[in-house]
Amino acid sequence: MLVVVTATINPLFLTPQGVKDLLLNATIVVILAIGQALVIITRNVDLSVGSILGLVAFGTGTLFAVYPGIPIILVFVIGMAFGAVLGAVNGLLVTIAKVPALVITLGTLYIYRGVNNAWAGGTQYFAGDRPRAFSSLSTDTIFGFPLITLLAIAVVVGVAIVLAYTRAGRDLYAIGSDPAAARLFGIPVTRRVLGAFVASGVLAGLAAVLYASRFNAVGATTGTGLELDVVAAAVVGGVAIFGGSGTVVGAAIGALLLTTITSALTALRVDKFWQQAIVGVLIIAAISVDRLVSLNRARKLRVSEARNV
């Protein structure tokens, strides 16, 4: 719908190049949003993803600068491991100290960003420092789809299957619905929540390496403020902020929608200053709709229960 309206007003929007740009821009937010979905489903939140992305992206730039011949696959592994460590720090603080994830990850948001600043200083690494094969990951296409977008789709499918069909995945929903009941039921809550944070970290690490491939420069401020878009994407995609419901595919669609809106606004030549306000409106609208739907469902349930008595 949005796509059609925009395309009719600005025909440039649906050219192959336009679609490709759209998919490329969405890829990174999609990957971050599915990591965020895992965390939010357990009734937590990870606000530090933007900082993790920045830190790992700068790490990637450094790796290529220091070891020019490094195999690309190794960079992916190192980036994801780095992300996992940062995610594990969040997870450990949240599970051991039993403090709301919001506060912990707000703290680590600033700490990781500070470390990134201290490490990078004024240094920036540019695409020229990285091998061409690495940059071409985000320019080469198969049937019109950029390689990294295909990678993102693979990740979405993989995580979706784990979440929907494995015990660990189902446990996340149980924990989000009612942590106390989940614990009573014998679900290893601590381990699962920790796992969700580590997974979010790994995905942020992956997104960071892709970011380094997609964008020219990585430096101290890479990924600043991204956490808002990511939380918005997950929430818009139907992941309930109270935990316990939502799907990875929904979060991915939310991310795609959000990116499309931003691109559409640019294509329609709406002032770029409106973008952040729109993200805010979307978050509030999404949680309001979610709330109204659940209230409605609760009322219907009550009515039908009463009838059955």
Partner: protein, 359 residues
Amino acid sequence: MSERTIVRSGEGVPATTAGTLPVRVRSRWTRILLSRDAVMFYALIAVVVYAYTQVPYFASTQTVGFLLLDVIPILLIAMPMALVIITGEIDLSVASTVGLTSAVMGVLFQAGVPIGVVLVLCLLLGTVLGAVNGFLVTALGLPSLAVTIGTLALYRGFALVVIGDNAVANFPQELTRFSTSKLGDTGIPVVMLLVLAVALVFGVLLHFTPFGRALVALGFNKEAAAFVGIRVGRAKFWLFVSTGLVSSLAGIFWTLRYSSARSDNATGIELAVIAAVLLGGVSIFGGTGSIPGVIIGVLLIGTINYTLRLARFSDVVLSIVTGALLIASVVAPSIAEWARGRLHARRTARLELQRAAAQ
């Protein structure tokens, strides 16, 4: 200092001891001197003494002036924020409210609106922004965390829409000078009087009025509070309104102090505010906290930051320190709780042994 031993039935005592246990109760003074607020106060004194003796240039009246000017916005917003967190809610949109107020103030003033009218409109704007938060949280029953993440983006977005990349700087000199003027030779900014008045209002409200006691009860247990006749929704709504109002006040001060209205003013200070409030002993789960504690928390963070800056640490390090303090202030109570639990368990075990030996 007298220490009495009285007998009272202990909660949390294992059922095996069935009945009463001698529990040591500290006298009123010991309790005050060992309270969390007091410990924070000692920490503040320690930091000040350390900085005074070890850090060059700290020992001057200019320090007092700049330090206080730096903490005023945080101190202001921390007051209503403490009350909001005590009721178990949170408001992440305060920094964006400051930014939007600043942007609107700049644009209105540039459009030739008299400065007095501008200031009133700004305060009104803050009240409306707070009321929007309050409405979404209390009328729709949405989680304040999610709502204020949304309005954080929304209000900052509006600030961008209103003023864009521009900055307005030509505010009346009397006002900008007033915002940084000092009380005689003491180095204390005149604006501190206003801040003290705000702190006094919120302190009295929280500690000496039925409304304030209701807030604590509400944070402790919402259902129970509703049962004893506290209007939960209405109380929370007004708290969000007061947060918006005070944030816009902080926005006006910010704009005048730096003599610059920009859309990115005060970005990220919600973190410093929340860190200070939590460090000041307000529980993130609601139900406990005091205004004096929060004031000490704000001053502690302000002094540490100022000292680090004097010692030529960059802003980068400051954000790490603020983040670390935030985490430490929420993790520390958990650790203390755990340690207290261990101590208690050991003590009851020992008493049980004694009792068994006596029999």
